[in-house]
């Protein structure tokens, strides 16, 4: 077949559209100048400055904690929810659960954030918990909306799972709980990993909901970056963003390798 110019050109344009902003961000993080748009020579001084900034590091550490804990909670709850929806065809409230579980996917963040804020305030007034807003409320908020994503990912994998595998295990003497840990869990493990990674990423870059439900002294990384940028873009934000991109890229690469390895290999000989 004759090679046309159309495919290479569109591919190049597409990649440029996706990655040009990120590449320019990475390049300018090594800029010597304080002005973000003017190149004046290579330097790593902004990385040095970043690691000397306690506010930035504190926010990064907080965000990592929030993302880790809420991704884990969302994974457990979302998996349970997916199992209930896929495996149990008839129970009271199934239709309601199936309909509402995906609501956070389409709900605007502003509304979710506002609703959660009002709920937390009301709970504090009546129950006395959670006392004030901070780490706990952010984790609760992130777990709720991340759970919906985990449910969707795990649900699709569970639907593909051959039911007779679980029946076979039960037939061989495994109780339902045993079946879940011996058979179901290992088979859906890749979906759990990608669900967790997805939840982690979503939590890490959420700005809107966190702004509503956080309190004094509990600013997440996106909140700190956002407030800094409003005062003018400083090059140490570029450095931080480059580090985050590096970590995320590594994570995605690891997840891909994991997925490929768990996929059944082609029949040999």
């Amino acid at each position: 077949m004759r090679r046309g110019w159309f495919l290479p050109v569109t591919a190049t344009l597409g990649f440029a559209f996706l990655y040009a902003p990120i590449i320019s961000l990475v390049i300018f993080s090594f800029n010597e100048s304080r002005l973000v748009t003017v190149w004046s020579g290579f330097s790593t001084k902004w990385y040095g400055e970043l690691f000397a900034d306690p506010q930035m590091l504190g926010a990064a550490w907080l965000s990592a904690q929030v993302a880790f804990v809420s991704a884990t909670i969302a994974l457990v709850l979302g998996t349970l929810c997916a199992v209930a929806l896929v495996r149990f065809k008839r129970f009271r409230g199934r239709t309601v659960l199936a309909g509402t579980v995906s609501a956070p996917l389409v709900m605007p963040d502003v509304i979710t954030g506002l609703a959660l804020l009002l709920l937390f305030v009301a709970m504090e007034a009546t129950l006395g918990w959670p006392a004030g807003r901070g780490l706990v409320t952010i984790i609760i908020a992130h777990s709720t909306f991340c759970m919906a994503y985990v449910t969707v990912v795990v649900q699709s994998r569970l639907t593909d799972l051959d039911l007779s595998l679980e029946e076979a295990a039960m037939d061989l003497g495994a109780t339902p709980v045993r079946v879940f840990f011996d058979i179901t869990l290992p088979i859906i493990a890749p979906a759990l990993v990608s669900g967790w990674l997805l939840a982690f990423t979503l939590s890490l870059d959420d700005l809107v909901i966190a702004s509503f439900v956080s309190g004094p002294g509990s600013s997440t990384l996106p909140m700190v970056i956002f407030s800094k940028v409003r005062l003018g873009v400083s090059p140490d934000v570029n450095a931080l963003a480059t580090i985050i991109i590096g970590i995320v890229a590594l994570g995605v690469f690891a997840a891909t390798v994991l997925q490929l390895r768990s996929r059944p290999k082609k029949l040999r000989n």
Binding site: S164, A168, D171, K265, L267
Partner: protein
């Protein structure tokens, strides 16, 4: 060589009214919503039998098997296995194992781990599990494949692993759901014999669900034909084929020529049926439970009819009709003729090709006589 009669009774406990059945299904009904998947089925299966449940899709055969395994609970009725009521016992507490149609091999475990899974659930000592797995692998001739994952095996090998896994716990009863369904024809024929051999060696009772009548005929000691959730007939393969009890069973197993007729002579030693469809009388050389003028059906297998060019002897003035050969399909070992009778009905007749490349064989558009014996067909009232 003729079978010794006492041996025949020994191996056919269902003929002995005193024999105790191993599996007792009593008036079992299963409803899904308003639909009767299984309707009032009663069935006795004896030890060491290889019983086939045969039926089309939606006949309820798989639902019945799943109730035996414990995956479905009967809406009504009881299931007894080896004298114990199993109706409401969970699948993991039953002395029963099942081989699944899809084989259901655990994809994340290798062959050995798959076979050992049930034994580990029983907390057998490690050494004993290893011995048992090795023994089973050699039984299904897969000793070199223990470390492979299921996706590295061929269809036939997977089938054998599934069989070994189902046999590992030495169940009293093995349920097989379309065990050969996913194999190609040649492999299916080989595996059929292997399956029977293993069943005979181990003496385990097998209940096999299949939609393939050839498979049922060659495997089974007895066959239960199912239709729309009910048992249409239970019997040995020869009974089912040669003496069907209804038009459904006659039509479901093998091919058959069916003709409607009216009883005009009803004697203790013979019956005469007038059939306008065949354009002749049917003389049946034994008594039939029927009444004069009753409308009934006569079913005859294609190989029980004989074709000839010359008019045959006709002592009873019956069982001979004339027609024109309309179609011939040559199958090698035999040929199938479609004969258009003068009455407009078409008969299907098979003739064995005993002479090689016979130049004198009956051919297209030849007028022929179709004849059959007084015992060739079954008289059916339902």
């Amino acid at each position: 060589m003729a079978k010794k009669p006492q041996l025949a009774i020994d191996t056919r406990p269902w003929r002995d009214p005193a024999a105790k059945p191993f599996v007792r299904i009593r008036n079992v009904t299963k409803k899904f919503g308003d639909v009767h998947a299984v309707h009032d089925v009663s069935l006795d299966i004896y030890k060491s039998e290889l019983f086939c449940l045969l039926g089309g899709s939606g006949s309820g055969k798989s639902t019945l098997l799943r109730m035996l395994a414990g995956f479905e609970e009967p809406t009504a009725g009881t299931i007894e296995i080896d004298g114990q009521d199993m109706t409401h016992v969970a699948p993991y507490n039953r002395p029963v194992n099942m081989m699944f149609q899809s084989y259901a091999l655990f994809p994340h475990m290798n062959v050995e781990q798959n076979i050992a899974y049930g034994l580990k659930r029983d907390h057998l000592p490690k050494g004993e599990i290893a011995d048992r797995v090795a023994e089973l692998l050699s039984l299904v001739k897969l000793s070199d494949y223990g470390k492979r994952k299921p996706h590295q095996l061929s269809g036939g090998q997977r089938q054998r692993v599934a069989l070994a896994r189902a046999l590992a716990k030495r169940p009293k009863l093995l349920l097989l759901d379309e065990p050969l369904g996913a194999l190609d024809k040649k492999l299916r024929e080989e595996t059929q014999f292997e399956l029977v051999k293993i069943q005979e060696t181990l003496g385990v009772t097998f209940i096999v669900v299949t939609h393939d009548q050839e498979e049922a005929m060659s495997l089974a000691t007895r066959i239960g034909v199912m239709n729309q959730g009910e048992i249409a007939m239970i019997g040995e393969p020869t009974d089912i084929y040669e003496f069907p009890n209804s038009r459904f069973v006659a039509g479901f197993i093998g091919s058959v020529n069916m003709a409607e007729g009216v009883v005009i002579e009803d004697e203790p030693d013979h019956v005469r049926i007038r059939s306008a469809e065949l354009g002749c009388d049917i003389y049946v050389d034994h008594g039939v439970d029927c009444a004069p003028d009753q409308i009934l059906w006569w079913a005859v297998r294609p190989e029980k009819i004989h074709l000839s060019r010359e008019a045959p002897d006709n002592p009873h003035d019956a069982n001979v009709t004339r027609g024109l050969v309309e179609e011939i399909s040559y199958l090698g070992d035999m040929s199938v003729y479609q004969v258009l009778l003068d009455s407009g009905k078409r008969l299907r007749v098979t003739q064995t090709n005993t002479v090689r490349g016979n130049p004198d064989s009956i051919t297209w558009d030849e007028p022929v006589y179709c004849t059959w014996g007084g015992n060739a067909g079954s008289v059916l009232t339902v």
